[in-house]
């Protein structure tokens, strides 16, 4: 309102005022656009270079378009085993971590008990410890237990460990708005605790559990540092990329990177669409 009044009083400066208003109106959106371009630039590079046809070992300079990298995505020795090991570990680790995390979250939100503060701290600590310390300390533990063989199990143990806190935080966030009267109603109607949990609690917290599974899966499949310390001679996909980067990463690395990106993007878009539908249904 005030700008209009000023413009009316001082018609000579109206051009400047209009220009200034334009800047004020579009500065933030234009800046946000540049920001998103910056965020997405490396992703575009990864996708574009998955179609590159490099002449030498280095996939850094654009040479020409080819679909061969996609057709022979497992044409590089070791890449197939690496991605399957990563998928297997991510699947098992996310299920275990989500189960353990959901139980902790239920206890924290629903029950009063002694030691609640220290439990919260124990959940928070792994999140605020640098990954290299997590990896190094676990390595020291395994080195001191002489019968431990580095490989699948040590990687799995490590991944569950750093996923639990994320699972707790994710599930807890959604449990806080949970209406406990629904459970009390079920109990009043004669359901026992197990039936109440199965028929009432579980369906209500299902979205939180799915969110936690996806988050843990994503963190696990992307982890490099902790895995690097505890993998022994096993090679997960990030470890494969690390090894390949020293001698020039093949374009197939970009192909798998693009595939992981697309799967994650589709899952998240579905999530956004479901929220949109819920919001418009709630509005209607």
């Amino acid at each position: 309102m005030s700008t209009v009044a000023i413009e009316a009083k001082r018609p000579r400066r109206s051009v400047v005022a209009a220009a200034w208003a334009l800047v004020k109106r579009f500065a933030l959106p234009v800046y946000a656009l540049l920001f998103f371009a910056y965020l997405l630039l490396p992703i575009v590079i990864v996708i574009v270079f998955s179609f590159n046809n490099p002449t030498g070992r280095f996939n850094y300079v654009w040479q020409g378009f080819t679909l061969d990298n996609w057709r022979y995505w497992d044409g590089v020795p070791g890449i197939r085993d690496a991605i399957f090991l990563s998928l297997e570990i991510a699947l098992v680790a996310s299920v275990i971590a989500t189960a353990l995390g959901t139980m902790i979250a239920l206890a924290l939100v629903r029950y009063g008990f002694r030691g609640r503060g220290s439990t919260n701290i124990l959940i928070f600590l792994p999140l605020s410890t640098p990954e290299i310390v997590l990896g190094a300390s676990l390595l020291t533990l395994f080195l001191n237990i002489t019968f431990v063989q580095f490989g699948f199990w040590t990687i799995l143990i490590a991944h569950v460990m750093f996923c639990i806190s994320f699972a707790v935080v994710t599930v807890k966030a959604r449990l806080v708005g949970f209406d406990r009267h629904l459970e009390e109603a079920a109990m009043d109607l004669g359901a026992n605790e197990l039936t109440t949990f199965r028929k009432v609690t579980l369906p209500l917290i299902a979205p939180a559990i799915i969110a936690s599974l996806l988050l843990c899966f994503a963190i696990s499949i992307d982890d490099f540092v902790v895995t690097y310390f505890n993998a022994g001679s096993e090679v997960t996909f990030p470890l494969f990329v690390w090894g390949a980067a020293r001698v020039g990463a093949p374009a197939q690395v970009n192909v798998i990177g693009t595939m992981i990106f697309l799967v994650a993007l589709v899952l998240m878009l579905v999530n956004v669409l479901i929220q949109w539908r819920r919001e418009s249904q709630a509005a209607a």
Partner: protein, 288 residues
């Protein structure tokens, strides 16, 4: 289910036990082993013995204080840049995002969907010697300031740029969450009381977004200080951080006591800095 009725008080402990045991066995106990290892002496060939070897710590600081300082310097610069760069966007999404909010947030976390190492390798391509970035900076006469001998790759600039990019979502998301929770009527009230837009921002919006600033800076600074991937892939040995040293001492040189003591110095320094920071900002709700 009679058991649960008779022992109601036990239920929370039964729910907590498996997860907390896992964290205890594979997070807390290993920290104890790391502490134990850091006070040992010997070599991998002749075996290590626990000798209260405190000199490991003094040696770590004496020989590698340059790496420690560089790590915290890079992490601090990257955190500051991330804060300045992402605050306006978090603000814009929170107050002007409308029904596109969720989609825009998806854009912010999108980098996380590309494997960490692969997106860092993409920065190798972007910052390459004959790439667009180097040429543009050259034309703006900024290459001499930011680069080294006409290069950006393998310089401190590239490492800091990589760290900033890789941890940016950790900054932007908490900023957005705290800005989103601000009651817009408070800002209107300030303007009704004749505060200018700038004053309203400085006196109302920014102070209310401080929890997000604190959370974002910690979530960016802590992983950044311990990182070694960006220094390895985008920097030269002159840009190596303490993470590179710990990594190579553990996995290549198998000098476990030295590596373990460095890990503890890193962790202790971070904890002390976080505590000082928390006191300075005066936020008591660090843990949420």
């Amino acid at each position: 289910m009679g058991f649960f009725h008779r022992h109601r008080g036990l239920t929370p402990y039964l729910l907590l036990a498996p997860g907390l045991l896992w964290l205890g066995a594979f997070f807390l106990v290993p920290l104890g082993f790391l502490a134990h290892q850091s006070l040992q002496s010997g070599t991998i060939d002749f075996g290590y013995a626990f000798t209260w070897q405190w000199s490991n710590y003094w040696d770590a600081i004496r020989d590698y204080h340059g790496h420690f300082i560089r790590s915290f310097e890079y992490a601090a610069i990257a955190t500051a840049i991330a804060l300045v760069v992402s605050y306006p966007v978090a603000y814009w999404i929170a107050f002007h995002g409308g029904r596109w909010k969720n989609l825009l947030l998806l854009g912010i976390v999108a980098p996380f969907f590309v494997t960490y190492l692969i997106r860092t390798l993409a920065w190798q391509t972007i910052l390459a010697d004959n790439g667009v970035v180097v040429k543009t900076l050259d034309q703006l006469h900024l290459l001499g300031l930011l680069g080294d001998n006409g290069r950006i790759l393998n310089t401190a600039t590239a490492v800091v740029a990589g760290i900033t990019y890789n941890f940016l979502p950790f900054m932007a998301l908490p900023l957005y969450v705290s800005l989103e929770q601000i009651d817009a009527r408070l800002i209107e009230a300030a303007e009704d009381l004749y505060a200018s837009k700038v004053q309203a921002f400085l006196r109302v919006t920014f102070p209310l977004s401080l929890p997000g600033v604190v959370a974002g800076t910690l979530l960016t600074f802590i992983p950044a200080a311990g990182d070694f991937i960006n220094a390895q892939l985008l920097g030269s040995p002159q840009n190596h951080m303490i993470g590179n040293v710990i990594q190579s001492k553990f996995l290549e040189l198998t000098d476990y006591p030295a590596a373990a003591s460095m890990s503890f110095v890193l962790m202790a320094t971070i904890v002390i800095m976080v505590l000082i920071y928390a006191r300075a900002v005066g936020t008591e709700k660090l843990t949420g």
